[in-house]
Every structure is written in C-alpha cells, then in structure tokens.
Symmetry: C2
Subunit: 341 residues, 2 copies
C-alpha cells in the first residue's frame, strides 16, 4: 500500500511520516496531499489560541478528554511560529497532554517554523488534512501565543477558541492583535481568580462595540476607548446588517478543575452548525478557502520565480548594489522576464 | 517642480506627501521612488527595537538630540506592525519626541499596517529612501515591539539597536524572537534599576554561545541552556571563521538621565564603518539588498497574478469548495495559466 492508502487505512506510522514529510516539504509531498484530498472534509477543526500562561494546554487536554468521552477520535497539532530557535517542541506543555499518549484515539504532533515563516499556516493546514484523512473526528490546532502569525494559523481552523486569563493584560493585547476578528468562542480560564468578571465585561464591551461599528451602515471605521487609550476599530469584513452574524460567546472556566469545559464544547458545536447551515457561515468557509488558494498560489509563484530566475536575481542585486539601476526598475524587469510579457 | 524634485530640494510638505503616498501605494508611487533613487544612499539608517516598556521612545529622543548636537539632520519612522486596529499613531510615545517637532532638522512620521502586513517592511524601506533623498543624514526606524514582523522591519536598517530593560523577562523573549541575529548593538536601558548587570551577563552569555556555535567548524546547530530551558541555536548565516565578524557590544544606559547615550552613538558609528570597510560588512549589505529585491519581486508577482487571474481564482475556489478539484492541483493550474507554461 502506498502512503496515502495507509493513512486512510488509519496506520498511525503512515500519518506521522506524512506529517513530517509535509512539514519538511520533501519531494512528492504535494502528490500525497492530492491523493488524500478525496478522503478529507469530514473532521471538525478547532483552533486554540491565547497568550502564554492563559492555560491553553491544560484546556486543550480537557477538550481532548471531552471529545474522547463522546467517542470521537482527536488529532492535535501544536504550532510554535514565534521561534526559529526552538526545535518544534514546547515539551513542558506537551507533557501535560501525555496521559493521552497511549490512547490510540488521540494523535498529537508539534510543528515549528523551519525558516519558511509565511508557509507555516500552509503546513498546519496540510497537516490538518492528513489527520482528517487519517480519520480524526476533531482536529485541534493549538498555537503558543497570539501574535499575527498565530492568528493567521488559527484561520486554518473552522472554529477558533481564544483563551484568556484574568489580570494578564490580555485585553489590550487582544484588541491589538486583531483577536475580535478571529475569535469564535472566548474562554476566560482560571475564572476562580480575581478579575475574571472584569475580563468578561471587557470582552463583552469589545464585542458590542466591534459589532455595532461593523453593523452601522456606511460607517467603515470607529474607535474604542480602552484602558484609557483610543483604539481604532477597522472592520475587515464588509459591513452587513445580517441577523445571521455570529457573536462570539464568552465562557468562564477553570481547566485545572474541569469546570466550564462542557459549555465550551457545546458553543464550538453550535458554531460548527452555524458554519454549515447559515449563508453567513458558508460565506465564511468560502472566504477561508479563497485565502488558502491565494496563499498557496503566492508561495508556489515565488518558489517558481526564485528557482527559474536565480541567475537574473543575482545580477539584479549586483546592479542595484552598484547603483546602476534602482530596485524598482530591477524588480519590474524580473517580473517581465518571468511572465514572458 | 514635480514631487521628486521638491523632495530633493528639501521641501518638508513634499516629503510628507510622498511618505503618505508610498505607504498608501497610490498610483505613481513607484515612479516617484525611481525618480528619487539617484538622490539616495547617503543617509545612515538606524533601527531601534525592543519590548514595549524598555524605553525605546525616550532613548530615540536622546539619539535625536545627540545627532542634532553634532549638526546632523534626523528622520524618524515609527512603525507599529502589530495592530490592524490602531491607525498608525502611538500618540503617547510620540508626544515624548514632540519637543523636536519645531526643529526643521528633525522629521518624524508614523506608519502602521493598512492590511498589507508582509509589505510593511517594504513601506518602511521606501519611506527611508524618501527621507534619505530629502537630505536626512540619519534615519531612525523605530518599532513598537520585537515580534517577527518588527524584526523583519529592522532588517531595513543598516545598524540595529536592541533596547532592553532589567527584570522584564526580555532575555528569553530575545532568544525566542531571533534577536541575536538582528542586533548590532545592545542597550540595557534603565540601568539604574536592579538586575541590569544580570541582563548584561545574560546577553554576554547568549552572544558568546551564539558566536561559538556559529564559528565551530562543521557544526550547524547547537543549543543554549537558558533560564532552565534548552534552546536550540540555529545560525542563519553560513558558518565562517572570520576575524571580521561583528560582535554586538552591550551598553548600559539611562535614557531619562541621558547617561550612556554617547557610547551608543559611538558604537553605532563603529558599526557603520564596519559595514563600509570590511568584506563581511559589505557582504551583509548585499544580503540585505538581495532580500529587498526578492521581497519586492514576491509582492509584485502576487499583485500581478491576483490581478490578471481574478476570475480564474474565483472559479478555482468554487471548484475546490464543491470538492471537484483539490486545492493543490487548482493552484498548479493557476500558476501554469499565469506563466503561460
């Protein structure tokens, strides 16, 4: 049996090998992805993001437990895009999940940047497909932080859970990093600590103001006064007055005590239904698919161009370095050469 | 006079207008950049980066003062790549620099992402060129944080100053974000606080281990034990045994009291000499230029492809959505269509 067939036949070694091949982009990885594509599309993909220290790993562990209890198989992809220096293993966090290591219904893998930063969300997406073809009912994509790169990666998920903790200054960070646009469900974890209600109120305010601004007809920008600072809010989706719009619910939970986790799973399931059954949900799925195709095209284009233009690029750099040509004209000439126009 | 000529003739309104046009990429901006290119190449470009709270703005203010005292004109570009929600103005910080606002020898502008994230370092680079053509002797590019995007942006500078403060947990963050590769000079600011010496020692250790690893012949990877965690160190430049290699000096300073700032300026000047006079320095300049050309090519390519393939991309997305084709085959077909091969 070839690798694709072995993945679909639920051979865990084949899945592990395929995920490594895809992350490393070894020759033939695209053919593999094409071969498994007809066996994909069945898994529910959940993104888990939030600041370090918010308790994402513990909560992910609880989610795995919950899904397993309802008979679902679970794949987990842990992504660390921030570090070119760690070799893809945030071992401390992962150890917390290791009690699932002997459960054949749970499959956990880590990925990290290997120099191709922009391509990490593509790697994550491809690895989700492998776990999907492998038969995972739910695939969880967990990131270590909430930077711009992490937010890109959560866009590979169907539903994104943003995990916060009281008193971590998450709120301002959240607005800054564009979380409102990414979050489908909010978890205020460690809710037995002081400040949980304040965090919930801050989020409610942020969502209310964000939604209001987006819905207000003809108004494309607004601002939120938050933490004493005026913060511009720029809706990225087209302004629409649509009763079908999804408003992210906010759940308090205490992952260490397994409190409030069932409600999170329930909200994630409602979001999956929203995606599948409403026009707004279907439109969002298509938007994400369009992003994937554009991103893949971008990467394929630049790979093809740098490969076929290697000598020309070197010559252009030398010419710019000698100030014989400006970099803008040099770039246009390279483009013309590549497209033959 | 056209806009380019007015910039070279040191008309501040023309420079401001050009920087806005370039950031917004209004039609004709490329022609403007081509026109001013022959008047560029004279300015020294200094990047200033570091965690929020390290005192970057205060230190930048002191650097401006120092450069002005030696008769140099100064341009400052403040970049905030982390937030799609702030409209380009970190006003609180900027106010600290406002005492220079009436000095015609100082020109300060802010930029932020306007949706084109990857393009921000290109915008920054183009804006540096405008200030260079405008006659700035020194251009300072200051970022608000030290994320991956900010580090990309500091690569548009000739010399990068990384600002740290004691006791902020900067050190681990620093290793994680690839700072060792970016920093040409380190400033340990707020050095009158506890922990400054420890921060200096941590940096010295990091530099020593990093350099050792890079120089060790045939060894392409190593690791540093830091803060109890084993951290992989992957040198990104080719292993070389070169006496000309630049080792980033570490300076303690107290920007609020104007202490240690002269030493920083002196180190930045030494670095400029290193860039200009050593083979390693010239090689680095060419590497950065090659990065610029590749980045511009990448962006130009994707602009041209998405423009000319608009209908085909929509059709491909619909086909993938209907599962009539896999996204990998669809992408290859788009590439073939674009290159006509």
């Amino acid at each position: 049996m070839d690798l694709a067939a072995r993945i679909v036949a639920r051979d865990p070694r084949a899945a592990a090998r395929a995920m490594r091949d895809v992350d490393d982009r070894v020759p033939g990885y695209l053919e593999l992805l094409k071969a498994i594509f007809p066996s994909t599309g069945k898994a529910t993909v959940v993104g888990v993001t939030g600041n370090p220290g918010a308790g994402k790993s513990t909560l992910t562990d609880r989610l795995i437990e919950k899904y397993r209890a309802s008979g679902k198989s679970v794949g987990v992809i842990c992504v660390d895009p921030s570090s070119p220096y760690t070799g893809g293993a945030i071992l401390g966090d992962r150890i917390r999940m290791s009690r699932h290591a002997t459960d054949p219904g749970v499959f956990i893998r880590s990925v990290a940047t290997r120099g191709h930063l922009g391509g990490l969300s593509r790697s994550a997406r491809d690895m989700v497909r492998i776990l999907d073809a492998y038969g995972a009912d739910v695939v969880i994509v967990e990131t270590v932080g909430v930077g711009q790169d992490e937010l890109e990666i959560t866009r590979t998920a169907h539903s994104t859970l943003v995990v916060m903790a009281p008193g971590m200054g998450d709120e301002v960070q959240a607005i800054k990093a564009g979380i409102l646009e990414t979050a489908d469900v909010f978890a205020v974890n460690k809710a037995d600590r002081d400040g949980a209600d304040a965090t919930v109120r801050d989020l409610e305010l942020m969502i209310a103001l964000g939604t209001e601004t987006m819905v207000a007809a003809g108004k494309s920008r607004g601002h939120v006064v938050h933490g004493g600072a005026k913060v511009d809010v720029i809706p990225t989706s087209p302004t629409r007055d649509d009763a079908e719009l999804w408003t992210p619910p906010i759940h308090k939970c205490v992952a260490t005590k397994n409190e409030g986790v069932a409600e999170l799973v329930s909200s994630l399931e409602k979001h999956a239904v929203w995606l599948a059954t409403t026009e707004a949900g279907r439109a969002r799925r298509r938007t994400r698919l369009a992003e994937e195709v554009r991103e893949a095209l971008r990467e394929t284009l630049i790979d093809a161009a740098t490969h076929s233009l290697r000598a020309e690029i070197d010559a252009a750099v030398a010419a710019v370095d000698a100030r014989a040509v400006d970099p803008y004209t040099a770039t246009e000439a390279l483009l013309a050469k590549f497209t033959g126009r």
